[in-house]
Amino acid sequence: MSNTTEIEIKMPKVDLNYSSFKKPVQVSADPAAKPNPKVTIDGKVYDFAPGDTIMQVAERYKIHEEIPRYCYHPGMPIAGSCRMCTVEVEKAPKLMTSCSTPAADGMVVHTRSEKVVKSRTGVMEFLLTNHPLDCPVCDKAGECELQDYNFEYGPMTSNFKEEKRVYEDSTTKKLSDKVTLNMNRCVHCERCVRFTDDVTKTSDLVMLNRGYKKELAAADEERGLFNDYQGCLTDFCPVGALTYNDFRFEKRVWFLEKKASICDRCSKGCNIEVHSEKDVVYRYMPIFNEQVNQHWMCDEGRSSYQSLSNPLRIISPLMKYQDALHSTSIETLLGSISKELQSASSVELVVGTDATCEEAAYLKEKMPEVIKNIRLSYYNGTNNVTTSKDDQKLDNLLRMKDKTANTKGVEETGLTALKNGEVSSEIAILFRSGRAGIPKMKADQKLILWGVWTQEEIKALPSKNILGVIAGLSTIEKIGSFKNTDGILQKFAPAIVHRGNGLSVKSVVSAWKSLK
């Protein structure tokens, strides 16, 4: 085959701005500068940057709610397949898809004209011909885009009299142990396929067949879905075709209370929304942050809420009495500990790198006042990471090697890393909030545990000589700030109220001080 010649296809270079929620275009104060191009949307004139599509101009000025969409997602390439976002452009012969039509200078756009609304009603009627009316059992109901847009634009009746299409094999098909597919509900927007193709770059989802029989399936049937961001598929699926097994049938979404926080499962510090009802967390969802996590979040972080409601988590202070740990009050516990601490020859406090910046600084400042000759150090201990220099990316998107949230922030308080990862003093106080590793120790090491611990972790400790456990708060129960691996400082406030008798660091230290 030596005769083949390579054909070079020359594509015109157009830089489309994929990421959304940009700020409005700055109008330069210099009168000599070239003026920005302008587009008129619904009678108002907006400046835009060259390369923006009509949808992206709307997103710049927060009027994107006016334009319904299924296939368009700001974090993914444009497809233009659902025809829901069509708008009327003056002097254009037909309606234009606002997601894929680049805005031009002097363009006049109508998003709510009679023609546009009629078109949307038609699109909705076609989408609903084969959509089952199983909203009562569907987990997406309440946050479903098909429901919302049907309420706004949909026809109240349907002309479709035939039987609805049923995919016999994939009505409830487990694509992996995390995601369930119900193909009957799918509206074929292909957001999920584009996500695996362009964001995770694993290409583990494909659309089989064409037209009426078009069907979503895993590219490798035996392997199923294998990317590490499967939860995102269920977030942006506009209908209930893809549902997350962990949240499936757990709660209806309209009962959930939503509060912003930071994920503490790795050093990336993804912005999350904590969905809870009556202080029980049901799921985490990502929030858009262009500098940190864009729209996404990994499955490991998404399932990290389970440790909060772990029944084995210790939520009240425990004191050693006759070789067993018993629940007690914080004053009694601190009183008995401080007797031991005074007689000890050397004491060290190991701060886990999952502590907040404020906690680490407070401990460094106040603990020497409480216990004399105390040595302080920090310890990470996840994936063989000791300092923030060991941290590296695990894939091309978000996941990091360091599985604690605040290694950089704790380093900046001036603490030093624990030598050889091993505690050597007579009594060691281990402070961690559930994510940092546990340092090496001798078999008869005297220990005081502080923060978030579970009974499993205590059983697995090499030493059984535990003097007491001071229950603390986990990340989403406390206030503070994390410095992520890129050096971005992010503050967060409590999303839920702690369910037990755990106390913040400040109140424990002040109780300790008031003993004397």
Binding site: P136, E250, W254
Partner: protein
């Protein structure tokens, strides 16, 4: 919240209560004489005789079942959402495929379905909201129980046999 004192001005006849007593006794003697001379009964022998209430009377709840004795409820939480007295508590679960003869229509089931009848105000909103006609209010008005726990109806109790609307 302070106390509000309301002063009412009564007339002399109202203060003595005599007129009110007279009206009450008039009805009593009227019924007595009717019973003596016209043989007219104004009361019923309750457990043996029962009053016929309206077809739309709202009494004790039940959950309708299909021919396989599977509850029609799909645990959609609409009744729990609409309930003004917050007396319905549902926990949802996935139905086993073996116990799911209707395929995807009944993939979700209530693991537990509790109605606290002490809180219930019998407004019938749950019946109205139910998309599967699963929860209904029967015409049974005998709700007396011996313990408070008996007043919390669980799924097995709600699935009892009720003919028509009871």
């Amino acid at each position: 919240m302070g106390t509000v004192n309301i002063s009412r001005k009564y007339t002399a006849t109202q203060k003595t209560y005599l007129w009110a007593i007279f009206i009450g006794m008039k009805i009593t003697f009227k019924r007595l004489l009717q019973g003596f001379f016209l043989r007219k009964n104004n009361t019923i022998q309750y457990p043996e005789e029962r009053r016929d209430y309206s077809q739309r009377f709202r009494g004790m709840h039940f959950i309708s079942v299909d021919k396989n004795k599977t509850e029609n409820c799909t645990a959609c939480y609409l009744c729990q959402t609409v309930c003004p007295a917050e007396c319905i508590h549902i926990i949802a679960d996935e139905r086993d495929e073996d116990n799911n003869p209707d395929g995807v229509k009944k993939e979700k089931r209530p693991l537990s379905f509790d109605i606290d009848a002490l809180r219930c105000c019998f407004c019938g909103f749950c019946e109205e909201a139910c998309p599967k006609d699963a929860i209904k209010l029967s015409r049974n008005y005998e709700l007396a129980v011996t313990t408070r726990d008996d007043a919390i109806y669980d799924l097995d109790f709600l699935k009892r046999d009720v003919k028509g609307r009871g």
